[in-house]
Structure formats: structure tokens, C-alpha cells
């Protein structure tokens, strides 16, 4: 079972996340060492400073130990040992740690500063992400498994969860914040450049914790506006007989009980909103490429791809029906 699931997933991964991105040592679409946000930049800088310090201190300590045990194991003057404890054990560490603590503490208020206006509510659910954009003019736009951000703005993410604890982590942009049932947390992101990144759930959240990712798309403000207005619109009507058949089947099979497609009768809220499914970069919370073949596999056998998923498998449908539903969903730009 796991085997088929892995194979099914494997086919899609390379398409969704081009391998070329990861060739350089630190770069990557999911790397804290390739920052694309102001918080990640500051933390990466903190890391490099600490890494150098660590290298120096480690070399000195181990050097001293090797010297004492191997190079010159003869008895030394106790005064040297006393000085070693006073300076190595107390003096220098207190100085270094005080400086480091101050560095860390002064970063915290900066990293937790307020946002500029745009708010996005993200809800972590087993095992996908419900996303709701709250614009300054009071509109509320529902999407799923993909977060689009305008570059250069501080966007406030409101994080919650209806089931178990999740944690939202976009390494290129910022550190992670947990999504805890009964609590609402906040995370402010400030992307500094456009690009495609990947976020994941960082807190163990059950059987398919490993299969809970999402796409992060950072665009310019005008592109963001354009996309948002498109996202706010209802689904375009089915334009051909085959697509209409798919739409009817979608309703008959009961997909609308869980999924919403705005502009149709489907208004379920248990699963992701599918109004603009075809315009998203990935399927099934960042684990499949968004293409008809993958979509078909997902609908036919979701639980072999994502163990424990709440979506039933529809492999029992006639092949032609499945094709029609897939074609319909793939048309939801």
C-alpha cells in the first residue's frame, strides 16, 4: 500500500519542485539558508555569526584537550590549570554569552513587529491548509494549500487549527509558528524578493504529517492584486458537454458535501475550496503536481497517496466518469 503511494507521489515530485533549485549548497525552495524574507535574512545572519563562533570555540576547547591528553601529557604548572578554569570556564564564556543573549533578545521585538495591513487566516487541518485572505477593504477570499504574498510588504498570518497541533513553516521567509486548537497565533512575513517557495507543517500531526506542504508564491503588488481579484471571482461555467457531465457527476457523487466550488451548488467546507483548483501549483497539499493524471490518481485512491486522509477514494467509479470529473476540475482556472 505504502509502495503504491510512494510511487504515485514520486512521479509528480520532480515536476512540482525542479531539482535544479537545490544544486547550490544552501539554496533551495525550502531552505532557511537561502533567505527571501527579512526575518529569515536576520536569522541566517545570526546563524553565520554563531557558526563562526562555534567553530572557533570548538577548535580551542578540543585543541586544549588534545594538547593536555596527547601532545604534552606531562604535568603542567597548576597555575596554568587554574587560569584555564577561570578564563576558559568562566571569564570568556560569560562575556561571549552575554553578548550573544543581548543579540538574540534585541532581535525579538523586530521580528515580532506588526504587519502593514493585509491579513491572511491560515488554518492547519489534517493534512492540508485552509487559507482566507482578508483585504484592507474588507473582502474575504477563500483558497487552499497555497499562499500568495506581495513582495516588500509585512503580511500578518493568523494561525489556527480545528483538529490537532500543526506548525506553519516557510524556511525561506521566516521561522515557524504553531497552530494550536483553541488558540490563535500570529506570524508576520516580509518577503524581500519574488519567487516560488515551499512551506511545510513542522509539528507532528498524525499519520500523514510528512505529506502536508504548500506552495508559497511571492509576486509583485500589481500581480498580487490581479491574482486576488481573479481568485475572488466565482468559478467559470462548464463550457463543453464533457465538462458539464463532469460538473453533474461532481454533484451526484457527493463531492460538494466536502468541497466548495463557488458559483455552483457545491458548498462543502470540510475539504479544500476548489473554485480555482486548476490555477494552483500543486495538488493534495503540496505533494502532487497539478496535472490531470495526478488529479485522477488522487481522486481514485487518495488514501494510498496520503495515509489516513479523510477524503474517500473513488476508484470504484467508471473510468469515463472519473475522466469527466477530472476534466471538469482541471478546467477550474
Amino acid at each position: 500500500m505504502g509502495g503504491t503511494g510512494a510511487e504515485r507521489r514520486r512521479a509528480g515530485w520532480r515536476l512540482a519542485w525542479p531539482a535544479g533549485l537545490a544544486l547550490a549548497a544552501c539554496s533551495g525552495s525550502q531552505s532557511a539558508l537561502d533567505p527571501a524574507g527579512s526575518e529569515a535574512e536576520r536569522v541566517a545572519q545570526l546563524f553565520w555569526v554563531m557558526l563562526i563562533g562555534t567553530g572557533v570555540i570548538w577548535s580551542l576547547v578540543i585543541g586544549a584537550a588534545v594538547y593536555a591528553a596527547r601532545v604534552r601529557p606531562g604535568p603542567h604548572d597548576p597555575a596554568i590549570s587554574r587560569r584555564l578554569i577561570h578564563w576558559g570556564g568562566i571569564g570568556l564564556p560569560v562575556l561571549a554569552l552575554t553578548a550573544l543573549l543581548a543579540y538574540g533578545l534585541q532581535l525579538m521585538p523586530e521580528l515580532r513587529a506588526a504587519g502593514d495591513g493585509l491579513k491572511i487566516e491560515v488554518s492547519g487541518e489534517q493534512w492540508w491548509w485552509r487559507v482566507r485572505y482578508q483585504t484592507a477593504d474588507g473582502r474575504s477570499i477563500v483558497s487552499a494549500n497555497e499562499i500568495r504574498l506581495p513582495a516588500g510588504e509585512r503580511v500578518e498570518l493568523t494561525l489556527a487549527s480545528p483538529d490537532v497541533i500543526h506548525s506553519l513553516w516557510i524556511p525561506n521567509l521566516a521561522g515557524k509558528v504553531d497552530m494550536i486548537p483553541g488558540r490563535v497565533n500570529r506570524l508576520v512575513l516580509e518577503p524581500t524578493r519574488t519567487g516560488n517557495f515551499r512551506g511545510v507543517c513542522a509539528e507532528f500531526c498524525g499519520a500523514s504529517h510528512a505529506l502536508m506542504a504548500f506552495a508559497v508564491v511571492v509576486v509583485t503588488r500589481p500581480e498580487f492584486e490581479q491574482w486576488l481579484s481573479q481568485e475572488a471571482a466565482a468559478a467559470t461555467g462548464a463550457s463543453s458537454a464533457e465538462l458539464r457531465r463532469g460538473a453533474v457527476l461532481f454533484e451526484q457523487v457527493g463531492c460538494g458535501g466536502c468541497h466548495a466550488i463557488r458559483g455552483t451548488a457545491a458548498a462543502g467546507t470540510i475539504g479544500p475550496d476548489l473554485t480555482h483548483l486548476a490555477s494552483r501549483r500543486t495538488l493534495a497539499a503540496g505533494i502532487l503536481p497539478n496535472e490531470p493524471a495526478a488529479l485522477r490518481r488522487w481522486i481514485a485512491a487518495a488514501d494510498t497517496i496520503k495515509p489516513g486522509v479523510r477524503m474517500p477514494s473513488f476508484g470504484m467509479l467508471p473510468a469515463a466518469d472519473l475522466d469527466a470529473i477530472v476534466a471538469y476540475l482541471a478546467s477550474l482556472e
Binding site: I90, V94, T98, L101, L105, Q106, M108, P109, R112, A113
Partner: protein, 128 residues
Amino acid sequence: MAAERALQTAGGLWTLIVSPTVWAVHFTLCYAVAAVYCAKAGGGQAADLLPVRAWIAAVTVAALAIILWSGHRALRQWSAGAVDPPHDAATLADRRRFFGLATLLLAGLSCVATIYVALPALFIGDCR
């Protein structure tokens, strides 16, 4: 005899842990007051921490005073007779010197740790 016995105990395990205990109490008072304030004070995340910062300053001064007092006593106990470590003779005097030194060192560590715990109040001004 009773006095000597009291003295023996006084230089013992309990005085050893006075200063780290003060650190622990200081830590608890800082954390509990800040946590309750941020949860209860209203104003949500933007609530100004000024009262909490003043409180932290006050308990820090008090804690440091006790730690310094403990350290001062330990210093006297240790340097009575001004003998260098290791204090490993099987005598009452060396046992007391050892306790004096260990207590003094712990007071030093507690002093640093207490100052560290107070530092966040210098840098962080609201409940975010």
C-alpha cells in the same frame, strides 16, 4: 555544644543552595507576573509592559542583594585562614572552607544567571 552544632549545619547543604534558590524564586516571579499580566491586562499583544519591567527591576535588585549577602558570608567562611583549595583534608575546618568556596561559586553563577533573566526587560516592551 548546641551552638557548634548549629554552626555546623549552618555551613552545610542548606546555605549551599540559598543563592540558586533565590535565582529560582526570582525567575518564577518574573515569568509568572509577565505571563499573567500579558494574559489578563487587556490591550492584547500591544499591551505595554512598563509595570512588569518595573517589577522585574525591583525583584532583580532584591534577588541580587540576597545573593551578594550569601556570597559575602561564603567568602568569609572560605577565606577564614586563607588556605588555597583543594580543601581535601578530613577536618571540620576544611569541610567548612569547601562549603564556603562552593557556596561562593554558586553565588557568582546565580548572580550572572539572575542578571541574564532580567535582561529581557531591557529589550522587550510589549506583549507580542
